[in-house]
Amino acid sequence: LQNGAEGVVVSLLPPGRDAEGAFVSLPAGASLPDWKLALSLKDQKLFDAATDQRIASYVWIGVLVVLAVIVLALLILRVIRRQMALTRLRNDLVANVTHELKTPLSGMRLLVDTLLNSEKLHEPTVREYLSLIAKENLRLSRLIDNFLAFSRMERNKYALDFHTVPAQAIVDGAAAAVQERFNASGCHFEVKSATNLPLVTADADAMVTAVVNLLDNAWKYSGEDKQITLRAASENGSVTFAVQDNGIGLSARDTKRVFKRFYQVDQSLSRSAGGCGLGLSIVKFIVMAHGGAVRVESEPGRGSRFSLVLPAKAAAKSGGREANKEGEVL
């Protein structure tokens, strides 16, 4: 006895007969002892196809789960590595900051103690000590300014106060900030700015900080005979402030990474003038916030030229300067 519907065959089998191809076989009940009810498919291929489909879907799900686990593991690994790198950077920063703050502080304490404890110091020595203390004080102030700027940058709290200012004012401000130090023997410092530099929309103090950081860098990475030039020129609706030095220069690899936070080309060299690898990242932040760009051209052993490009304020010209102190007009 068979009844077929939807491709499934239900068979009632008398005692002693086997259901060939049945996927289920059950006793028919108490009223038909030894009889069996069997379910089989009209077309076995349908069953095989459904089975294959199910197996394929299980395999795919399995593969996807394994892939998802691998991707997740890689992501977690990446997050952990980034976190570890960040922790290392933070620890290094704390160590560097501590070190950089302590060095000028140690110098000041040593000289102050010497002044207090020595009964007979000559007047020129006293004046020399006071001048060294003032220099260390200035160095400490610059370090603290940079740390604060970096901290504000990190917390997105670095508020810029934009005004229309002559580009020349930025050049003059930066040159004045380093003049005393750069006038020392062993350093030839020149300022060459074009006539009729335009006005720019800028936070003048922040831009002076950016240019001074470039000048500090030039000082730090130049040897005993320093040749440092600050140039400013106007071209195609923008103003370029460039600092050129004859220092150790940068490799192509260093050039790409030099604006990254905490990056220092030569730890031992930078140590001699202080710094934590924050100066150039602050420069980049300030210039980008002005809608400008930073550029670096360098050759190892021959020196570097760092340029900051700011958009000029349209259709307005500042008074500018007639010519630079060397008489050159760009």
Binding site: K102, G107, T114, Q267, R271
Partner: protein, 136 residues
């Protein structure tokens, strides 16, 4: 009595000046070096009675100077003067052969006292034919 000779290896000009003046005022004959290369050369050419050594120096750092001096069996007392205050830095410095480790900012009286004590110990050991320290 001949003056004790101290070599100060320090790249910070202000500290170098202050240390030099204070040690001269305390009767030392002072030589100075403002980078690691010059410092090591000065130690090897004419070993002083005492070395005051910064750690973070241009060209060759203070650890390497310590290691190189002890590797050449130089037993000159070395005092490290540094802003590095981590325990691992102190341990490393002393393990490489430094006799004392003073962190910046320091009290100059303390530095001079320790320098005097080390020089006296070294002299006393030399008089009885004992080395104050072992080879590294």
């Amino acid at each position: 009595m001949t003056a004790k000779k101290v070599l100060i290896v320090e790249d910070d000009a202000t500290l170098l000046r202050g240390l030099k003046d204070n040690f001269q005022a305390n009767g030392y004959e002072v030589r100075t070096a403002n980078d690691g290369q010059r410092g090591l050369a000065a130690i090897l050419q004419e070993p002083p009675d005492l070395v005051l050594l910064d750690l973070m120096l241009p060209k060759i750092n203070g650890y390497e100077i310590c290691r190189a001096a002890r590797a050449r069996h130089l037993h000159t007392p070395i005092i490290i003067l540094t802003a590095k205050t981590r325990e691992e830095d102190i341990y490393r410095g002393l393990q490489l052969g430094a006799d004392d480790y003073i962190t910046k900012p320091f009290d100059i009286g303390d530095v001079v006292s320790r320098a005097n004590a080390l020089c006296d110990l070294d002299k006393a050991c030399a008089e009885i034919g004992v080395r104050a320290r072992h080879d590294k």
